[in-house]
């Protein structure tokens, strides 16, 4: 068990996951993070679950616009264009 591993508890690690994934950790912090994940089952699974969560969130379709709202906007666009033409 290295000293580095002990420095970062699991409870601390879970708070660094987003910063890690965003590339926001310093080199030293990242090394410490990765060393911990490499040795710790729970944190390894946790990191994977965060990545799965992100992927799954990305697969949600964006909701569609109500047809009448779209029609109103298109009307406004036509009105804008004809005002422009004058």
């Amino acid at each position: 068990m290295s000293a580095e591993f002990e420095q970062l508890s699991c409870q601390e690690l879970v708070e660094l996951v987003t910063e890690y994934l965003e590339g926001g950790l310093s080199e030293g912090e990242r090394a410490r993070f990765e060393a911990h994940v490499g040795l710790c089952d729970g944190c390894n699974v946790y990191l994977e679950q965060m990545q799965q969560t992100i992927r799954l969130t990305g697969s949600i379709p964006a909701e569609a616009l109500a047809p009448d709202a779209e029609r109103d906007l298109l009307e406004a666009f036509r009105g804008w264009r004809s005002a422009e033409a004058q």
């Binding site: 699991c10 879970v14 729970g42 969560t53 799954l56 697969s59 779209e70 406004a76 666009f77 422009e84």
Partner: protein, 210 residues
């Protein structure tokens, strides 16, 4: 990047020449995010949709004057936040980021403290007491799991919901989200972190029951 700029110049040209197809495509692309972001400022879905409608009118009004100093997307979201802020102030609501200038100051744990051994534990302070177990792949791709995920996002505070939606559903970069919402780098990350952490926890509790 040059390619994106060229595509945007082309789009502007099409909009200015009155191309309805280009306008409709733009509206379809941004409307869901506009409504989500507007929800941070106003109290109801209907009011948020109204703000989004007004935003498009503002876009049309300003289109000829738009000089492309920011991206079209950033510009559209600036218009939205201005309209939404004005409306929120008029309705006597506190603005989301002024009320919570610094979300980092208010602690919020990604994982419940009782999942960890306490900090006084002689051998493993702060280590998992109940560690997460891998999720079954087939449950992950099930339609119901996706529904639970959508519900979990819906249940988030509006600022967190806006950030996770733009980042993870719409695929924006952190810089684009910061520009559109006028957020600091730290606050963007804190809001994203909390949102993702809560959604993960919701998935975990659902998948463990399943």
């Amino acid at each position: 990047m040059a390619q994106a700029a060229a595509a945007e110049a082309q789009l502007l040209e099409a909009l200015r020449s009155g191309d309805e197809g280009a306008f409709t495509a733009l509206v379809r692309e941004y409307q869901p995010s506009l409504v989500r972001v507007a929800r941070m400022f106003v109290s109801s879905q209907a009011a948020a949709e109204e703000v989004a409608q007004e935003t498009w009118l503002g876009v049309l009004n300003g289109l000829d004057r738009f000089e492309g100093r920011s991206s079209l997307r950033t510009w559209i979201f600036r218009i939205l936040t201005n309209i939404a802020k004005t409306k929120a102030v008029r309705d006597g609501r506190t603005l989301p980021f002024s009320a919570l200038q610094d979300p980092a100051r208010v602690p919020e744990a990604a994982v419940d403290a009782d999942r960890f051994l306490d900090s006084e534990h002689p051998r493993w302070p702060g280590h998992w007491a109940a560690k997460p177990t891998p999720w079954p792949e087939d449950a992950l791709v099930a339609a119901e799991t996706r529904e639970r995920l959508a519900e979990a996002i819906e249940a988030l505070p509006a600022t967190q919901r806006a950030v996770i939606s733009l980042r993870d559903i719409e695929g924006w970069s952190s810089e684009e989200v910061r520009n559109a919402l006028d957020l600091s780098e730290t606050n963007q990350r804190v809001l994203l972190h909390r949102a993702r952490s809560k959604v993960r926890a919701a998935l975990e509790s659902y998948l463990e029951q399943a």
